[in-house]
Symmetry: C2
Subunit: 410 residues, 2 copies
Amino acid sequence: MALIVQKYGGTSVGSPERIRNVAARLLATQAEGHRVVAVVSAMGGVTNRLIELASEVTAGAKTTEREMDVLLATGEQTSIALTAMAINSLGGSACSLTGAQAGISTDGVHTKARIANITPEKIHELLDGGQIVVVAGFQGTTTDGSITTLGRGGSDLTAIALAGALKADLCQIFTDVDGVYTCDPRVVKDAKKIEEISYDELLEMASSGSKVMQSRSVEFAKKFGVVFEVRSSLNNNPGTLVKEENMSMEAVVIRGVSLERDQAKITISGVSDVPGVAAKIFQRISDANIVVDMIVQNVSRTGIADISFTLTKAELGKAKEVLEPLVSQFGGSAKLDAEDGIAKLSVVGIGMRSHSGVASQMFQALAEAGINILMISTSEIKTAVIIAEDRIDQAANVVHRAFGLSGATA
Amino acid sequence: MALIVQKYGGTSVGSPERIRNVAARLLATQAEGHRVVAVVSAMGGVTNRLIELASEVTAGAKTTEREMDVLLATGEQTSIALTAMAINSLGGSACSLTGAQAGISTDGVHTKARIANITPEKIHELLDGGQIVVVAGFQGTTTDGSITTLGRGGSDLTAIALAGALKADLCQIFTDVDGVYTCDPRVVKDAKKIEEISYDELLEMASSGSKVMQSRSVEFAKKFGVVFEVRSSLNNNPGTLVKEENMSMEAVVIRGVSLERDQAKITISGVSDVPGVAAKIFQRISDANIVVDMIVQNVSRTGIADISFTLTKAELGKAKEVLEPLVSQFGGSAKLDAEDGIAKLSVVGIGMRSHSGVASQMFQALAEAGINILMISTSEIKTAVIIAEDRIDQAANVVHRAFGLSGATA
């Protein structure tokens, strides 16, 4: 008898019929002899409607974050009640718990609280009584009893944190995709579902645009060693198991290829290579809350430096605005060039640590296809390049093929 | 500086605009130098939509009462968050509290819990900090942390119970009527708003069809001596103050006239007047969950009894069904007659205790109008008659006039 935590997102509980479907799945899991804890999100669309209501009530003025949490928490509370009722109406025995009732304590940072502690006694007690326990995702409580929410991807985090605290045998994240793929199947037709992937690989895939889950939840799972499976709530296919890396994983050099569109690049060239130049640039960027991805710096033999970095296209205008006055201050030949219409392609795999030649193999494949590389960045388990956005689909296909991901089962 | 509890019902918080209106009222009250606690209901229509959702999720099967409470409690939780946000957006300082957070403990009878205890420390603490405290009506928590709801009229009850526990100077129940009237203004055009009324009078008015508030809340207020005012959230008119009776109240013989339509009457005649007959009849009625209003019994000189009672027209069919087999068992000349198309008219006033002739004055007024009386029932502060339903408007007007309610300010 295993203890299994199953998380269902907003699409999976998006209508009364789907909630009944989730209830039936939970009952089927219990019928296999397991202890079952469900974590559910708000019904699809509900959170957005609540945010809209808040905006109307405050006539567009800033909403109070503490009250926003009280408001948004109703979304998941509705889902747990309905899911528990559905289970009971199908002949099962279920009990709902809000975040507070489930013993999920957080810090007091409203709308993006961090889980501080979980005291799962109530859940164990209900499980001991043969119940399916339905816990509200995305929410918790401060020590002085205020309701908090965990921010984006919060329900995944609830599921993983609960699985850790309950010492669950498995945590299943049900979503609308079948699992993690070697590449986006809309781009690479013969992309394969990955059976097992390490936390680090999934993190690198996520940061490169394969947004199956928020990095935060994966990091939490890694920190506490929670094994979880990403799978679809629309069918019974096995999903992708995410766990600590092991020997067999290293045998596969490249786990997958991920791509990120709508990137932009800023190059500041002709600045003197003296200490503090980069600091000044990125201080401004950070003050403007702009997220930068790749950073590359070259220094020529004459002591003149070029600094390039990438960011999303949406933030390009803002970045130019804050940097142009600075570049003027640098004086001399310093100038700023901005470019969009570019994209990022990454190959990810812990196996590349022990295999040389991954980068050159990737560059070779791109060169053969006549695709020009604008920037390169590497980490221990990732090699990423920036190329023209209109070549990204072709690039993904040739690289995917070059590493043999299309052929064998991943 | 007074402590004032204000309760706003579902219509008063029925839209973002109305919530802003409520927020402005609360701020105005605070600006007069008072400490303010608001109790709010779910936005109009929300509770019904949640009930519908529950019914869809359970495909019409019985819903779990514990989970129904978790579900319905989201309605008021939404309202408190929005109201607190609206206050803050208007430059005020407000904090919301769910029933549990406000310290409202109840028994464990889900969907119709009774308040067991209130520990208002958190509310006092927030008031000390200059905040307007917005509490969710209709809900509480059991000692083991389950969410409960208080049933119909629960938000009024929350307001009155909080006012009692906080030793508030005043509790204002904002609703969509201006207060309690000497008669329904739709029936008696010159009905007057009553300035002050005793708990008992309001209870008798309520039980006679003037449903300003649930009897339960009035009884609670009476038990704990909570003075409250019923007034409109749509204007600034003073409402009706409900309090313990006093000398000046007794000077007015009749406080008001109330009427109840859609009544029905069953008469069981020709039964032997032996002990236990009435008990048998009303046991069956009670087993069928039928609520009976007036009961009248007459015994003729030959020892044959007639028993009549009234009930709502809607329950007449069910009552006949459970009683007809019993009447057959009585045998002899026993027979059952059922009649609908009747209505009840009551005059209410604590003053009638010390004034004789109220009943005869009422009967005289009806006789002069040619209205026949089918049944009569009296209590210490009420005289009620059953008449034909098609004469009820006329009867209300003649009785209202006979007691001088139309002339002077009530």
